[in-house]
Amino acid sequence: MKDSYITRFLDSLIVNESDIPVEERFKLRSLVLLCLAINGLAFVLVSVQVLGHYKDESVFAMLSLGLIGQLLLKFSRNYDLTVVLFILSGTGIMLYNVTTTGDIYSYNHKWFVPIMLLVNATFSRWTLPYLLFAIAVQCYFWMVSPKWHAESIGTATDHLVDNIALLVLVFCFLWIYRKYADMQWDRIKGQRQTLESQKLALIESNDLLQRRTEELQESNQELERFAYIASHDLKTPLNNIISFSTLLEPQLKKLKNPEIDLYFGFIRDGSHRMNHLIKDVLEYSRLSAEVESVEALDLNATVAEINDSISQYLHDRKAVVEIQGKLPTIFANRTRIYLLFKNLIENGIKYNQSERPEVVISCQELNSQFELCFEDNGIGMEQEYLDRIFTMFTRLHTNEEYDGTGLGLSLSRKIVENIGGSISVKSEPGKGSKFCIFLPLTLIEEDSEKQASLPV
């Protein structure tokens, strides 16, 4: 249905009417109509001199009505109509003045206009035009108009020039405002569209990321399951090789054939090394595959337990493991922490050529975490290798130099990361290494925190 002239006229008073939904438009048209009626009424009443004696009061009432209308519109969140309302009531005031006294600056409302404009400037989206207009009106009242007024006081031209100048100002503003508003609106619309399309793209890429993450997790789990099954099944035949070579060894020794002994040694050592490797791979895959049970662990006891289990090794190497101060009690999985500590302690002693290998374990509270350090007096490492040592199967030495599978530290890192921590290393060749584990403070049992003499 084609809109009538009246609705089109009303719509044209609403800035950017095309962006307002049809059902809203009706409401806005009504408001515009109401505004016109208020101003029209004021105009008529003033014209017939009914309010002639109360000009200031009537102007004030009109402005108040305009303000109430504006506040209502603020709540409806349509700032554009606020402007329309203001202009309508403003035009009403001008016309009212022109038709009654033709003397605009002699009344108190010459303050109202700029103040209203400033109020609007503060609340509106169209701050700049409002401010400019407020300044312009103020300039007119204070500078231009009084001067002209003084020059041509009491003449008809005086009023005519005053009011025409003001009206020109109003219409200039209307025109500029319309242009500015359209421009702003287009810009905002453009921004909104860009945002909308960016949002869509973001949602899409987010979905993709989630899908990929799930796929990755799945394939990761599959890989770990595979590693677990493969290494588990590899162990049975390997166990047989180890078992039977253990049985065979004394019998072969009896033959006193150096060649047989040498070859047999290769078989025995090879199978033992493979056994270690499979054990570590199994351990690594289990870290992800199995749900860990958590309990309160006294780390001092854990260290003592490890010392006990490797006491022969420590004795042979004349090595010592020392705890500096007291270690806290933490909530974690017993087997994992045992493995982690054992790895770090054994590493400190294994890669060590000091006469008296030493591993010192200490604990320190930092801001939101605590730090467990394992410091040794071992061979240390070059700076360039430090990033690599936590990677799976990375070894810095041959099996002849130091026995190992290249999994110990990657295992350790995984254990630490699984409980929300991180591990780092400082090292210097010939001076030793210092492995530090950073764990969240929440892992510490509260009582032990008080008991433990943590140096801060």
């Binding site: 588990h232 099944d233 049975t236 078992s243 039977f244 289990r286 049970s293």
Partner: protein, 129 residues
């Protein structure tokens, strides 16, 4: 106490041969029987007169796993007052298996393969207690 009677259930032939040697060398057992499947062992249990005191049981076996065997053992009619103690044998000790073993009161111990003389004496010690 007389020497215990033992069943050994494992699907892997060479492992059985090795365990046979280790058990024989230990000389700690009165009689022992080796089964290469859990079903065979179950059949024997329902027909035998020489009921075992101890069962070394492999977990990973085709057709009937160690866990299945334990379920069957729980469900069948009791032939004697005391159930045989079960020692689970596994190629690699996992916390999952350990947790699961808590649910079976028959399981006395979970050990990593292969059996060694020291492991056997450990088992016997627990059995006597």
């Amino acid at each position: 106490m007389s020497k215990p009677k033992v069943y050994l259930i494992d699907d892997d032939g060479p492992t059985n041969v090795y365990h046979d040697i280790i058990i024989r060398q230990s000389g700690e057992f009165d009689s022992y029987q080796i089964f290469s499947s859990a079903t065979e062992a179950l059949q024997s249990l329902s027909s035998t007169l020489t009921y075992p005191d101890l069962i070394f049981l492999d977990i990973n076996m085709p057709i009937m796993s160690g866990w299945d065997f334990l379920e069957e053992l729980q469900n069948r009619e009791k032939h004697q007052d005391v159930d045989p103690a079960v020692v689970l044998l596994t190629t690699s000790l996992s916390s999952r298996d350990l947790d699961k073993s808590e649910n079976y009161k028959e399981i006395m111990q979970v050990l990593e393969k292969p059996l060694t003389p020291s492991k056997i004496s450990l088992v016997l010690e627990r059995l006597c207690n």
